[in-house]
Symmetry: C2
């Protein structure tokens, strides 16, 4: 008697696709005991049929989406192509045809998640995307299931490995941003065009997805304020050390009574915070819930096999749902419609570094401007740089973004302020 | 029309039970949107009906288990009494009656897990126990689902908050073990009889459960070698600092080709390892899988609400399974029968501190004894303590436990060795 089989199609055979293909083969011997059936990749959608692909059964390759869509034996579609189109259309096609979908596509989920989850719900299909956030780290399922009894107020993540690697090198080996970026590129952590990483766009997509799930209310990428790490200097890093802190690019989401705050920006964070010890290209997501208190999830945020681990975890879950006829069991959990707070109204502490004329009364003038704009000062450090010029570091209490912006605008007009060198938020 | 209700009974109303009761009430308004039905605690089993319990509806209390067992409307039993009996019998009764069970009982799961899971499988019931390991930290579900595509070779956990608090105080505030224990008792972290915590028994139960799930093979508490932290001294902590390490009580499980290694003991661990920065009473579990690489789960390992968070996460999962008629969907995942390695055959690195006579040739003699017993030395630090006495610290390479034991036995007989002060493993 032939064994029962669950057939899946793979869309895309890049880094993640190859990882998924390899991993499913590696687990062949245990899959039946894990899900009660064999799991088989029966078709792989690729762009170029002629490219040689080592270790891949060439007879599975096709460049025709219809062939997969119309194959009724294929119950699961694994989308690992990335990008919005044609991924979006194909996933919608698949869900409408009653196929379950697993995806690693953060761009797509961060922008069209609602549409895709709605289509899944309509067809009672599973639509899972653990791999879209923080690679191999389990975070979507813990939020949707393990922490489902919590009112989650805060999600903060180091969710971009490239920038965390760069900041670690700057911090531990005193590299400049440019040197650390070059090193990251050399090691393959950074892409030829590193904009999406270093400007916080990649992290912004992930934090949109996490905020949606944690707060049960839809947050899309366009809602996320983003600021990158290109302006961070060795001088900032040195002050961070002096303040017993590190600088990390954080995706920050808070659920407050006046709306959801969501952004990505570099922050000084005290070295005793669990996120501070997340080094190199590792990722981590820190969550605060009213019952669980603080929790953190740490691991590899990218890479062929770590991402494949998350994809296969989802595929196994779909297969179990198919076996137990309970697909669609956990679909969209965004049952609230919370407002997104304008970023100007968000409150943050700030670390400000500026070059000022070294003359009496300057600090008093600066303090007055801050006072006028409701900015309270928590700490001031002044260091003489040259005879007539001093470096001033001011750490504020929590202030609204627009109050600080206004104050800085006024300071920039002052003769005694030579340069505002750094404006970095503090956790 | 009355809303659909899922009824549950709570067995026990101690710290965790009270937390679960409170938390379910706190989530009343969102439960229907979360699980598609209302969730109601309809009976609570307590020992003493007369005790006043603030905030608890007294009409729900009963001291009669049969009353709950025979109530056909009760679909879920939440066992938070702790201990082996009567918890074990009641859970078996409940499962045989087709009721689903959620428990926080590590003692029971570590010893009778197989029996309980078998009973659950037989009745197609859910039997979930996320709260039994590391309190609020999601670890069971991530291992069973998110990381299901991995071959997991290593699980290492700081899974006892009391001892982690004590070691943190010893490390950061130079307290002695006794001082730190007194502080932990004062804060309610340590119980009147702290044996189960400080001797590693509590951690041993948790590591047995985690090893079973991670390696798909049954490990019970009796398989776990345990050693506590009572012998750790300020001198050991000082050396750990000198070696850029901390000392942590770790539950350690490895899946090797020659069997499962499982134990609990204090270890020196490099301060760059993610577990090293887990402070105070926090817990964390570090996992290595062939696909996911390194991952870590961090949070509160105990306490009323963190534990209730894990319990309610499980209850919500059961309720969703009831709604989708797929209870029993993920039951026992121990489909292998791997041998447990005798602890004497496990290999470890060791940190050894000893007081020796300060005379020529002593080190040569010690080195010879180690060599005779196949113990390779990685590092030696000698410090003169007094004129005729020196403190010697030796760090070994990985050696089999029994080889080290034999070597130490021989060293103890030597005239020039005054005392073997510490024997601590190193990660």
């Amino acid at each position: 008697m032939e064994k029962r089989k669950i057939k899946a199609a793979l869309l895309g055979l890049g880094t993640v696709g190859t990882g998924v293909y390899k991993l499913i083969h590696r687990r062949e011997d245990v899959m039946e005991r894990t899900i009660g059936a064999e799991l088989e990749i029966s078709k792989i959608l690729v762009h170029d049929l002629k490219k040689t692909r080592e270790g891949v059964d060439a007879s599975l390759l096709t460049n025709c989406w219809q062939e997969i869509l119309e194959d009724e034996e294929i119950q699961i579609v694994i989308e690992v192509m990335g990008g919005i189109e044609p991924a979006r259309s194909m996933i919608l096609d698949a869900l409408h045809a009653g196929k379950h979908v697993v995806t690693a596509n953060k761009d797509l989920v961060a922008e069209y998640g609602r549409e895709l989850l709605d289509a899944a719900e309509e067809g009672k299909c599973d639509f899972l995307f653990e791999a879209a956030v923080a690679g191999g780290i389990p975070i979507i399922r813990p939020l949707k299931q393990c922490l489902a009894g919590n009112d989650i107020s805060e999600v903060i993540g180091i969710v971009n490995g490239t920038t965390n690697y760069i900041l670690t090198k700057m911090f531990e080996e005193n590299m400049s941003f440019e040197e650390a970026l070059a090193k990251a590129t050399e090691l393959g952590y950074a892409e030829a065009d590193p904009t999406a990483d270093v400007e916080g766009l990649d992290a912004g997509r992930k934090v949109a997805i996490m905020a949606s799930i944690a707060f049960h209310s839809r947050v899309v990428f366009q809602d996320v304020y983003t600021e990158g790490i290109t302006k961070i200097t060795s001088a900032d890093i040195a002050y961070a050390k002096e303040f017993d802190s590190v600088i990390k690019l954080l995706g920050v989401a808070h659920n407050t009574e006046s709306g959801i705050e969501v952004g990505v920006y570099p922050m000084l964070i005290n070295k005793e915070h669990p996120l501070a010890s997340v080094r190199d290209s590792f990722n981590a997501v820190f969550v605060h819930g009213d019952a669980v208190d603080d929790a953190m999830f740490y691991g590899r945020g990218a890479g062929e096999l770590p991402t494949a681990s998350a994809v296969l975890g989802d595929v196994i879950d779909v297969a179990r749902d198919i076996e137990y006829q309970c697909t669609g069991r956990i679909s969209c959990t965004c049952y609230k419609e919370l407002p997104i707070k304008a970023f100007d109204d968000v409150k943050n502490k700030f670390f400000l570094r500026m070059q000022v004329k070294n003359q009496p009364g300057v600090l008093a003038c600066i303090a007055k401007v801050f006072g006028d704009h409701k900015v309270s000062i928590a700490r001031v450090v002044q260091k003489r740089v040259r005879d007539h010029e001093a470096e001033l570091v001011i750490v504020t209490e929590k202030v609204k973004e627009y109050h600080l912006k206004d104050a800085l605008h006024e300071l920039q007009e002052m003769d005694s302020i030579l340069e505002i060198s750094s404006v970095i938020r503090e956790y």
